[in-house]
């Protein structure tokens, strides 16, 4: 515990190794500047970077040799021992946060600028996506890399339903959820026997199939040109400057036209839907089906030996997750007003998975926080535009080293219910 056990030699070695690695990584990138068909070498920039890495690693290495540093390293090293089970009658002291967040959330559209509002809407859409994938990956333990497929089905459901059948936002919202759930079941059947890597590859393929169909079925989806999606209506009132069918929102309420009205309305509806999904998920986890999902994640063979019908359990997880993504897709389409297949690439699936992993598999609060971080952060980092993806990457790496179980570890109340049968 004394200061004397700090070995500066060790710190020095660590720092030199890190500096050499920085030299290899940054040398070509920063040291060679292209100028037309020629290039010039600029060693000063490389030197600065390497110096920063050297000093940083030296300080870090020294810090981790001090008592406090050791304590910290120990705490993080012991961070991966799984789920924390609370006693069944545990009452959280943080319940007051829920109404607080609700009130703040309801105030947002009236105080925030249109720009902020659009970012928050995007954040909420990703919260929905994160919650959906959290059921599949976090609770049921089925690694799904094609989740964006269901998102696309929801979004295109709205756009195509509007363009081909004349259906609006409100009728498509439930229909898209059902469509996506059906797609989830269709994906679920062939992958019932698969686990882990194999499942990931098949689902990845599924996501790509959806995107490629949307891109290539020109006559139906307008292909890469994209397709328009309708804005929501408030009891038939449209959020437009002028409407071909009757009055618009601003005419009816006699307020000046503001394009932000549409976003305010989308936000409020989305806000309610997110709370509804949160509530449903909260209940589901406590119900026998939620228990079955968790049991399936922990040990599928044990589940089956106990008489659980793994087909139903897996399909229900896929369908619930997909339906949530479908709803998110509808909101995405209505918020953008226009969609094309480039919004539904594999990158999107990876981002949603990153939300679930960063947030902590199976943890609801963690996923909500992570969804906002990963959507709002890139916006905040616009100032340092070139470096934001780099910062984003560094953040992910640091998170995974220090908090491998995600922001919020799953803590759940133990099961102690007297009713309910899972068949």
């Amino acid at each position: 515990m004394t200061q004397t056990d700090i070995s500066y030699k060790k710190s020095g070695t660590d720092a030199i190794i890190a500096a050499l690695m920085a030299l290899v990584v940054f040398g070509p990138i920063m040291g060679i500047v292209l100028n037309g068909y020629q290039f010039k070498l600029s060693f000063d920039r490389v030197f600065v970077i390497v110096a920063i890495v050297f000093v940083g690693r030296f300080l870090m290495s020294t810090f981790f040799q001090t008592h406090r540093g050791k304590m910290m390293a120990f705490r993080y090293a012991n961070n991966d021992d799984g789920v924390t089970v609370l006693p069944p009658n545990h009452k959280s002291k943080m319940v007051w946060i829920i109404p607080l967040v609700m009130v703040i959330g309801l105030l947002v559209p009236f105080i925030a600028s249109k720009y902020v509002l659009t970012i928050v809407i995007l954040g909420l859409i990703y919260v929905l996506l994160g919650l959906g994938l959290n059921i599949v990956v976090g609770l049921a333990g089925l690694l799904d890399l094609g989740f964006v497929g269901f998102y696309a089905i929801g979004a295109y459901g709205l756009a195509l339903g509007y363009n081909h059948l004349g259906l609006g936002f409100w009728s498509m919202l439930p229909i898209a959820a059902i469509l996506a759930a059906c797609a989830g079941a269709i994906l679920g059947f062939p992958v019932l026997r698969m686990h882990g890597d194999y499942l990931a590859i098949v689902t990845l393929g599924f996501g790509e199939i959806i995107r490629l169909v949307l891109t290539n079925w020109q006559s139906f989806t307008h292909g890469p040109n994209g397709i328009t999606a309708p804005a929501p209506t408030l009891f038939g009132l449209e959020f437009k400057r002028r409407s071909a069918h009757g009055e618009t929102f601003h005419e009816y309420f006699n307020v000046p036209y503001d394009s932000a009205h549409k976003y305010m309305f989308v936000y409020l509806v989305l806000f309610v839907v997110v709370w509804a999904v949160l509530f449903i998920k909260h209940r589901l986890v406590k119900m026998p089906i939620g228990r079955a999902w968790e049991a399936l994640r922990e040990d599928e063979i044990a589940c089956r030996s106990l008489g659980l019908n793994h087909v139903l359990v897996k399909l229900s997880a896929f369908m619930m997750g997909a339906a949530t993504a479908g709803i998110a897709g509808v909101f995405f389409a209505t918020y953008q007003g226009f969609i094309n297949p480039t919004s539904f690439t594999f990158f999107e699936s990876a981002l949603i998975l990153a939300i679930v992993v960063l947030g902590g598999m199976g943890s609801t609060v963690g996923v909500v926080i992570a969804a906002f971080c990963l959507t709002v952060l890139p916006e905040l980092l616009r100032e340092v535009a070139q470096y934001r993806i780099l910062l984003f990457g560094i953040l992910m790496v640091v998170m995974m080293i220090w908090k491998p179980r995600g922001l919020v570890r799953i803590t759940r109340r133990g099961f102690a219910r007297k009713e309910g049968v899972v068949k």
Partner: protein, 237 residues
């Protein structure tokens, strides 16, 4: 004494390989039957074929007068056949109590509270650890949990796949002591074991399986003194 479960000339194939050859055996209500055999003899295959994993290619598996050989695993598991699977297969992230509650899936939670108390009497170690996560327990405790979890569904027939797997001899002794207690409550037990000595001492009747065939059968005592069995499984000379 009625027959609870009966294998009639059961064949099982894994692709071109025949794992079980015309296996016939019976388990009568209230008795302990053991199946012993070397590694790869087909013991686990036999046990798993009760649940249709793998499906048998010919023959019949009669359970309480009904052929269950073509039923799905969850159907079989929820009709009075409880299994403590090979390698224990407890839910590592769940507490002991939760693991036990998972065992009530086939019958619902009506008797959960009472049965759990009963399990804690049978396995006092589990009571000490009731709120602990199952993964933090020792192998022997996990095995106890696996057996207790199987018993939570109030089975007619308890199937045990190698409860001594990977456990210290003293723990194995404890486990078999507990199995004796369980049997004394009138539970029918079908025990698949490599540890022939313990298994045959406990069992009323035994079957010896070699290369997918039932080679010998008799009471536990008979097999225990049988020279062939002694040579092959009990390290006798």
């Amino acid at each position: 004494m009625t027959t609870l479960m009966e294998f009639k000339e059961v064949d099982v194939h894994y692709g071109p390989i025949q794992a079980l050859k015309k296996v016939s055996l019976t388990v009568t209500e209230g008795e302990i039957v053991t199946l012993i055999g070397a590694n790869g003899a087909g013991k686990s295959t036999l046990l798993m074929s009760i649940f249709g994993q793998p499906r048998i290619s010919s023959g019949e598996i009669i359970y309480r007068g009904e052929d269950i050989s073509q039923k799905s695993a969850h159907y079989v598991a929820s009709h009075g056949l409880a299994q403590s699977p090979e390698g224990r297969r407890i839910f590592p992230g769940m507490s002991v109590e939760e693991n036990l509650l998972m065992g009530t899936i086939p019958i619902g939670m009506e008797h959960a509270e009472k049965d759990m108390q009963h399990m804690f009497e049978l396995f006092p170690r589990l009571k000490e650890r009731r709120n602990q996560r199952a993964s933090t327990m020792s192998g022997g405790e996990q095995q106890m949990l696996a057996i207790a979890r199987a018993l939570m569904s109030r089975p007619k027939l308890l199937l045990l796949d190698e409860p001594s797997l990977g456990l210290a001899p003293i723990i194995v002794k404890q486990i078999f002591k507990i199995l004796e207690d369980v049997a004394s409550t009138g539970m029918t037990i079908f025990l698949v074991e490599q540890n022939a000595n313990h298994a045959l001492k406990l069992a009323d009747r035994g079957y010896v399986m070699v290369n997918g065939e039932i080679r010998l059968t008799g009471t536990g005592q008979e097999l225990l003194v049988n020279p062939e069995v002694r040579d092959a499984y009990l390290g006798g000379h």
